[in-house]
Subunit: 414 residues, 2 copies
Amino acid sequence: MPILVMKFGGTSVANIERIRNVASKVKREVEAGNQVAVVVSAMSGVTNQLVDWVREVSPLSNKRQNQEYDAVVATGEQVTSGLLALVLQGMGVPARSWQGWQIPLKTNDAYGKARIEHIESGPIQDAFKAGEVAVVAGFQGIGPDGRIATLGRGGSDTSAVAIAAALQAERCDIYTDVDGVYTCDPRIVTKAKKLNKVTYEEMLEMASQGAKVLQTRSVEMAMNHKVRVQVLSSFVDQTGANLPGTLLVDEDEIMEQTRITGIAYSRDEARITLAEVPNKPGVAAAIFGPLAKADINVDMIVQNVTEDGKATDMTFTVPKADLANATKVIEDSRATLEYKKLHTDANVAKVSIIGVGMRSHAGIAQEMFKVLGEKGINIQVISTSEIKISVLIAEEYTELALRALHTAFGLDAQ
Amino acid sequence: MPILVMKFGGTSVANIERIRNVASKVKREVEAGNQVAVVVSAMSGVTNQLVDWVREVSPLSNKRQNQEYDAVVATGEQVTSGLLALVLQGMGVPARSWQGWQIPLKTNDAYGKARIEHIESGPIQDAFKAGEVAVVAGFQGIGPDGRIATLGRGGSDTSAVAIAAALQAERCDIYTDVDGVYTCDPRIVTKAKKLNKVTYEEMLEMASQGAKVLQTRSVEMAMNHKVRVQVLSSFVDQTGANLPGTLLVDEDEIMEQTRITGIAYSRDEARITLAEVPNKPGVAAAIFGPLAKADINVDMIVQNVTEDGKATDMTFTVPKADLANATKVIEDSRATLEYKKLHTDANVAKVSIIGVGMRSHAGIAQEMFKVLGEKGINIQVISTSEIKISVLIAEEYTELALRALHTAFGLDAQ
């Protein structure tokens, strides 16, 4: 029998009525002949309450504190898993809940944002043989010292994909509050279209560039293990087999390539510019070393050397939430860095166009800059990868930029 | 270093502020030179919410359902244990949380009301050696098949006493919302006195007869393992060593025995009378067998044979919550039982006087009946043990009976 992993996020299990709705979808897949593992998040709001309590009592600044954080917040998924198993049992579908430590889903010791190291597939396979649905508490595993470890926010997606890989599942259906992956955020670009298929690479770029439909790590894992992931809605009468959402596939499964596949944006970044830093070897390391040490991720980076070649302007972006911290780190290193001025700007947005079609279509960057220029939008920083071009612009132009690019690249729905 | 177990109930950890208060008490005991294991309940209200969710989705009528119930409700204590460990860490007291499965605290497979079978003391002892406070999630353990098992309502008291026994603790301090065990419920009998000491046997009778300060099973366990249990309040500035609450002790530790030690009452019972049952062998078994099968506990029983010896009236009490169910079971057996009439009465109360002094003082039952008779209170059923006399009376006389008995037996505070 084919193995199917189904994953439901917090809004899909927000209350008992919705958990019943989830159970119906699971039942339908069981009746269609699948062996099903369901991965669940905490009921929406629950994790926030737990995190609030923890933050009220602790700065969470070391491993021991993170271990307790994990013990507390992992309870959210534990509750949902038990409730869903009960509802399934009540519908005549044999089911049991599995906590991370029971599977076991083994992680490294980076408590609070642990990485999955190994999943024992035997126990769940045995449960399948006994005709049982496995209801897995997402987001959690067990660390090397036997403590509960969580995978970080959004970790339930990663749990689901990892379990699908371990079970060699036919497919991993991620049920969310949208019915698939769109060419752009439909709340902003009303002409956005749902994509039937998207490549792993594109989805990865879209997720890292701000599309919130799937967590980056889960896409990475799906790509590495070739897990067929489908994004679909838990709120429409849609199940994996009949009314499909968006399927993550290999590039060769996509017949006709458009120039770009989607447009993502993020308002979560802030820009820092160090003006007139002496242009000598090691300056980048001197700037980014302390930031890395402070656990601040730097995203886009540009460096402009002044005309005389003696000084350089260094511009980069950090998560908006880390701006104050990053500024402090830089100021603390002023003596070493010898910069003249420090500018910061939190009112920026990153807009990215993404598509494997870029590889075979030339001039796409040019076209993007032209479209933005025609709308009077100034580009502050540019960064590119093989299948993505990102630009940093003033935040107030976000919607305008998205709509203009969506139209210019022929993505608008008819 | 002496080992101390401290247990805090749901109202003592109801919010972050109270958890901080608990942590201060723990810190004080650590600074006084104790190795401390703290057993915590769920924040008050949390377990009720979890139980409500579970009851909404399941009748909880078999083992598989009870296993999920346990997975869900055990999260309440898990949350408290993590939060308290964090608060202690924040106060500079090394601490970690322990879930039942981590200790492990092993139980039998009676999920939902499991019994403790074995506690591994090594891991917590190791934590003590490392100078760490062990914050134990009460009420839970791990069943023989690796599932989370809860000990039933109030099970955190039992966890605490069992852990104190396993660790051979100096004392087990149970912090509650009262500052000790009283001669009677002080909300009804304002002249009730706090007892400095009470014997295990008396406490066991008081708990079984309705005093809610300690859970019966925990007292039983304390008695069997000779754990020195102290009941004290978490809301007054009281710690185990200085301002004592009530200590559970062996009978030989009590110097001067009064005739009775305390008076308990319960409004949780209901009376059932089967009138004119044919008086033949096996009639009791025919009545109580089906009730036992339906998991209904019968408490007091009296049987009166009619004058001619041909028929008998059988009166007994069951928990008020089970009255409807018990009535149905009896009616279903009417053909076999051949009783003439069935009376039920939910408006009854059980009043019990308790004291090891009864063993050496004669005429106490007599005196009790006389006191009640003088107040015009009719006794419906009587049951006695070596150190207890219980009577069933109409519920409306409860307070009157308690106060009259309290005065008559010389328990009133000066």
